[in-house]
Amino acid sequence: MRETAHLVHDYLRSSKRFPHIWCAGCGIGIFMQALIRVIDQSEYSKDDIVLISGIGCSGRLPVYVDFNTLHTTHGRALTFATGIKLVNPRLKVLTVMGDGDAVAIGGNHFIHAARRNVEITSFILNNNVYGMTGGQTSPTTPQRVKTTSSPYGNIEPDFDICRLAEAAGAVFVARSTVYHTRLLERLIGMTLKKPGFSVVEVVSQCSTHAGRFLELKSPVEMMKWQKENAIPVEKAKQQSEAELEGKIVIGALVDRERPNYHEQYQSLINEKAKV
């Protein structure tokens, strides 16, 4: 209790009119708490952190927390993040995006941010749906399910966000669900230490919309589904693609080193700068 009171007092904006906008049972709050816990234990002060979001349910997260916060346009959080990090590399730049936000409208920015490798930490809250607009198909909506924009069943195959990030060049790629909160905190801690573009996919539940078409009737059922379908990455390595069909592989999936953009640019400045 004491810890929670301290986190609430220190990190939530007292001047902001609560309650938050998220539905009861939404997974975003669980992620927000995990993020605050990890930052509280980290070396970063609130002044060091810039938290940037796009548009959608996840886009509303930054306004509640007492960092430098920026609510940008739909899909473009990473472009603003790039400008901020390059101008002031001392800042710890975090982005939080939704699935439609990051890999549909923001897909181009996502792959290029990963390729470029500017030090930006990206959290992608994947609830498999456009929640704020009323439950439309997103690039991570499973095939065949019916949504408000695919009333006869979704024809399109879905994206694996982590594989996309890996292929595009992210130096750290991880996945957790909001059910696995301890793992989530551990992965957030790891990603904050990576000096390059890193991605944590946070599988979350939208019981208002996705729950309906996935036939999981309550937030509790959705989180049980997360628990039962998640497979730690170490265990997943022993299994075949067929066995992993429909499962959520969780843990640190990619952890590698690559020269990052802003440090290389800084050396260019040092070389070219006219005294």
Partner: protein, 359 residues
């Protein structure tokens, strides 16, 4: 010289040279250049850089300018200073990539959705391009608003001798910074000037920036008593200074029976035409507009009162001439002269027109 230390852009004819020069020059002065994946990303990075405290700009042409509208609107409502150069080529769509045009005048005014103020400047020579770029940064910082440099392909690709002023002689403005400690800072409260002080991210003033309508603390709101004052302030912070934004050059207007109103490369052709007409004894004059938005109602009104006819030559189907007619209210005859075939208007064409319509 204006203090720009960040450039993000995407290659596009006929604006790419600006990007190439910035890529070479910025590291030399400790600034940052980045080539982004598209124009939307470019202006996003520019706004981010400005929020982090750096004077920032991008440059593009028609198709890229269309993509940037989303973030121009964002910069307007979040009040983030930035400069956007639009080198106008023939449009719509891919249009005429290598030919001059003045077809983006109305897009510069109303490109982003929703009501918003905008400042757009139009140079007609290389030296003026330099001068107005410095001014674009100054206005952008002073009013915390995006400023657009609308330049036609002809002026952008022009080579001519210029004498650049001494760096120390330039007046360079900076955005207002908060003078109160962070705990007293209210990010969007009107300090009386209409322009709230703006700290950089990382300065210790943690605040929220959003493209939603926001209250004075920056938090999203739908309250009518918070939405209306914000949009009102966005307009009045600039409109209160309309007097200061009447930038023009006038030639031989005192006794002019016909006054030409022009901007950009067309103003140069018009200048030559007016000189030649004067040699023939025709009483004609020229007003060259350097500010297109906000429209210089006051200056144009004076011309309309003192001339019998006004001629507005443009490389479009009539964009600024509509504004002139709007301001005119039947005081004099407003004639248009439009060319949209990708070629410039020549002095002889304007001269011929002046002779035709001379009273």
């Amino acid at each position: 010289m204006a203090g720009c230390r960040f450039y993000a852009g995407y290659p596009i004819t006929p604006a790419t040279e600006i990007m190439e020069i910035m890529a070479r020059k910025l590291p030399e002065v400790g600034g940052v250049f980045i080539q982004m994946e598209d124009e939307i990303a470019s202006l996003g990075a520019v706004i981010g850089a400005s929020l982090a405290g750096s004077k920032s700009m991008t440059a593009t042409s028609g198709p890229g300018f269309s993509l940037m509208q989303e973030h121009i609107g964002y910069a307007c409502i979040t009040e983030v200073p930035c400069v956007i150069v639009d080198v106008m080529r023939g449009g719509p769509s891919s249009g005429l990539p290598t030919q001059p045009s003045q077809g983006d005048v109305m897009q510069a005014r109303w490109g982003p959705h929703g009501d918003h103020p905008i400042i757009a400047l139009a140079p007609s020579s290389v030296h003026e391009f330099f001068e107005l770029t410095v001014q674009a940064f100054n206005l952008s910082e002073r009013y915390r608003t995006p400023v657009i440099l609308l330049v036609d392909e002809l002026v952008a690709h022009m080579r001519e001798g210029v004498i650049l002023p001494d760096e120390d002689s330039l007046e360079i403005e900076e955005r207002p910074h908060p003078t109160v400690p962070p705990e007293w800072y209210i990010p969007y409260a009107d300090p009386g000037t209409g322009v709230p002080p703006m700290p950089a991210f990382g300065d210790g003033y943690r605040y929220h920036v959003t493209g939603l309508y926001h209250d004075i603390r920056g938090y999203p709101t739908v309250r009518t008593d918070e939405v209306e004052p914000l949009i009102h302030r966005l307009f009045t912070k600039i409109s209160k200074d309309y007097d200061r934004l009447q930038w023009f050059d006038s030639f031989e207007t005192e006794d002019a029976k016909i006054t030409v109103i022009a901007y950009g490369c067309v103003a140069r052709a018009a200048h030559r035409a007016v000189q030649k007409a004067r040699e023939q004894g025709l009483q004609v004059g020229l007003i060259k507009l350097k500010v297109l938005w906000p429209f210089m109602r006051r200056t144009v009104s004076r011309i309309l009162e003192n001339s019998q006819k006004v001629l507005v030559p443009e490389l479009n189907v009539g964009q600024i001439s509509r504004e002139v007619k709007r301001v005119n209210q039947s005081r004099c005859e407003v004639l248009t002269m439009n060319k949209v075939d990708g070629t410039p208007i020549n002095p002889s064409e304007i001269l011929q027109k002046l002779e035709e319509i001379y009273p």
